[in-house]
Symmetry: C2
């Protein structure tokens, strides 16, 4: 191994092969500080050629590679295991914006660019790069691509996969595949791009990408809406799509308890309604027209919704400050639930038509098994993505409740599966959900996935033990 | 083989194993009547289970399978070769609309459904299924998915890949993979869906799909615009995207010769402008608002374009009849060129920013090699997709000119490659472009594609000889 490490040093320079425990530490612990792995070394190549050189060395010496971007993943996919046999390959030094092609509405970037850097570069060129996540100041686009990240703008712009036109990838053999195509149409063989996207570094290392840019919307309208049930929310979503189509850019569901916890723990945010209802929707429109047009569109939608008895009450934000307050209420739910105490989180998605039944059915099953458990249910209803988080009964022993995590996961994921949903909407599998994956994927799909993994990484050196 | 055919008859019924030459004929000749293959039999399973049964028989007896939908492909991908060793598997009997889920905005269909059948079913449920092709009355969705078909609505709605949420596939082992998920977010492993889409039946047989539905636009606006050059057209596209974003649903480029040929061979269509210019753009907006709003949006765009000197002249259609006339001019180009005589077609795409230079450069190269050759240049500029068709000089010997097809292809495809484009934007590879593919794809990409093919179809029975 000393020989291998010397070859790494020769390839990329001594300073970029880290072996001191203090230097390695930030690369070995996961974002939520739940696990810490061990490694042979952390290597920090400067460019794609160096990545390829290192992968060839690893292939020769059978050294596993854990590729890493901002290390902000939530499923333990970007840290090594306990064996200490792998290298962690940080892509952070590949951090250049390579090109902005305004006439093609594309930006070409290194995989190690921070998401925020790309957002800002797009903004300066008078474009929008719509991918937006809580960790955007720390996560890298390579990680976003490798996990097909979701975020708050999926309803209109799609997941990371839909925002990418081309990739540059270093394969398990250490070859560089230049698939940096800026094309909207290209039917010349297998879709390697989409196969690599979401593969969590197990099929190759993404080193660069061509991304789509969008014109910036000119104005936005925001409404906070009170409803009796999810069936109304789904009908409202349908109406909003029909009336506003691509102008509908946000549709968030919030249940009563979620909002109550926010008001309790963040009293600085203004209450919207005097009386509570069981559910709320935060709705956002974006247009390429002036504010008045956007407001008219929103008012027309809300009026129709009242006529169709889809809403109990509604408030349209009259200022940017009011709109920000609405979003602050939505974005403070996770923090409010954390202040309330420990809880068990689920990142699931469902066919939108099944969400109402799913929530009712799962709530009932959980309350039967764990009386008085409290469901903090919210999420991107427009994408079918629900954060279905379970808090212990009021005043209960929190750690005692958390010992039932496996049983609770089983109830929630069994119901998700039963209603045709996914147990990982946007976070991926990593090592955290590997065993859950085997419970719910068909043997046929697992077989196909294994065949592909074996074909593209026959020696199992690319992020081994993740996903499969 | 007799034993194999008897087993096929036992599996799906005698009537559905065709061996008479007259019965087989329509399945053996390609759409443009350029080639006719031979086969052991044409088999017509009734459902997915029968497809799986037949594939297992084929796997056991090492019989190659050519899956076929409407047999409307343009690259010889859906007919067998001359060996007579393969079976053609027609999916036409799998022709049921399985389910429309209005609240989820999805439709689940058998692979053998005609595209038109799906469009109509969506329409009756007050939705739009936006995929639209010249062959929509004959092609099947299974074929559209297997070739990732493009068509006229890609600018806003994307290719077939972007319209599909889930697949049902029979693998080369004869397993049924049920990936019929109606989810907008699902990060649970490798993206098998997008790998199967566009694989032209070489990795498995698509038997069903979950497709996205969209709300129907309420009004449309159409303009026919005269310009001096492609640089202006690209700048106009940029302006239109900025002002109208998702409301921009059509942006077609037409060169002077294209329009002249249409007027010459289809005098029934009205002329738009008194004087010719070198290029034209057919621009369409669609909105979810009334006609007046749409017209205002269009007028504002055209006014700005005049102010920025991006256009020479422009006419906004004042009636549905006028709009139809504009589209008839665009859609008659291929027919007009055919009436003019033989020509050499190219289905290419380019980064939009490179199209002006590409056309100028390629025109020059062709005129140097073949003086007075006439370029009929048109296509979906909004997607970067160009139909760059070369007609012989006026009055020249047509067959003599066509003997230079390979040289002309080489000039056009070399330039396409040089400008970062694709030699097959929407038609696929089949057997027609196999050798071209090897010229322009990198060895790394071919190696990855071969590894995947071998992994998912180790005995090479799924549409062998296509793509690779």
């Amino acid at each position: 191994m000393q020989n291998f490490l010397n070859l790494c040093r020769a390839a990329i320079g001594e300073d970029y092969v880290l072996h001191e425990p203090e230097a390695q530490a930030p690369y070995l612990q996961d974002w939520r500080q739940r696990a810490t792995g061990k490694c042979l070394a952390v290597v920090k190549p400067a460019n794609t050629a160096q990545v390829a050189l290192l992968v060839r060395l690893c292939a020769e010496h059978q050294v596993p590679i854990v590729p890493q971007g901002g290390n902000t993943g939530l499923v333990l996919g970007s840290i090594p295991d306990q064996s200490g046999t792998a290298i962690v390959m940080s892509l952070q030094r590949l951090n250049k914006i390579r090109e902005i092609d305004t006439a093609n509405s594309t930006i070409t970037v290194d995989a190690g660019c921070l998401l925020e850097t790309i957002q800002n570069a797009a903004d300066q060129a008078d474009f929008l790069f719509p991918l937006s996540l809580a960790s955007e100041g720390s996560c890298t686009i390579g990680g976003n691509l490798s996990t097909n990240a979701g975020g708050t703008a999926v309803l209109h712009y799609g997941n990371t996969r839909e925002l990418c036109l081309g990739l540059e990838v270093v394969t398990a053999d250490g070859d560089i595949w230049n698939g940096l195509r800026g094309l909207r149409k290209d039917n010349t063989g297998y879709d390697l791009r989409d196969l690599l996207i979401g593969a969590e570094g197990t099929l190759g290392i993404i080193t660069g990408a061509v991304l789509k840019l969008y014109p910036k919307p000119k104005s936005q309208g925001t409404a906070f809406i009170a409803l009796d049930n999810i069936t109304q929310a789904v009908a409202l979503l349908h109406l909003a799509k029909q009336q506003c189509h691509a102008n509908l850019t946000g549709f968030e569901l919030i249940n009563q308890l979620s909002l109550e916890l926010v008001h309790q723990h963040f009293p600085q945010y203004q209450k919207i309604f005097q009386y509570a209802t069981r559910f709320y929707v935060l709705l956002e429109l974006s247009t390429y027209d002036n504010e008045q047009v956007t407001k008219q569109l929103l008012e027309h939608l809300i009026t129709t919704a009242f006529e169709q008895e889809l809403v109990v009450d509604a408030v349209i934000a009259n200022s940017i400050a009011q709109a920000k307050n609405c979003w602050a209420l939505r974005e403070s739910i996770s923090a409010a639930q954390a202040k309330e105490g420990k809880n068990i989180k689920h990142d699931i998605s469902l066919p939108i038509s099944k969400i109402a039944d799913f929530v009712q059915d799962t709530d009932t099953a959980l309350r039967l098994a764990f009386p008085s458990s409290r469901m903090v249910t919210f999420g991107h209803l427009g994408d079918g993505n629900l954060h279905y988080n379970v808090s212990p009964p009021f005043g209960a022993d929190q750690d005692g409740f958390l010992q039932h995590q496996t049983e609770i996961n089983r109830i929630v994921h069994d119901k998700t599966h039963q209603y045709g949903g996914s147990i990982s909407a946007e976070h991926g599998i990593g090592t955290l959900k590997k065993h859950e994956l085997l419970l719910y994927k068909s043997p046929v799909e697992i077989k196909l996935m294994r065949a592909i993994k074996h074909a593209l990484d026959p020696h199992n050196i690319m992020n081994p033990g993740k996903i499969l």
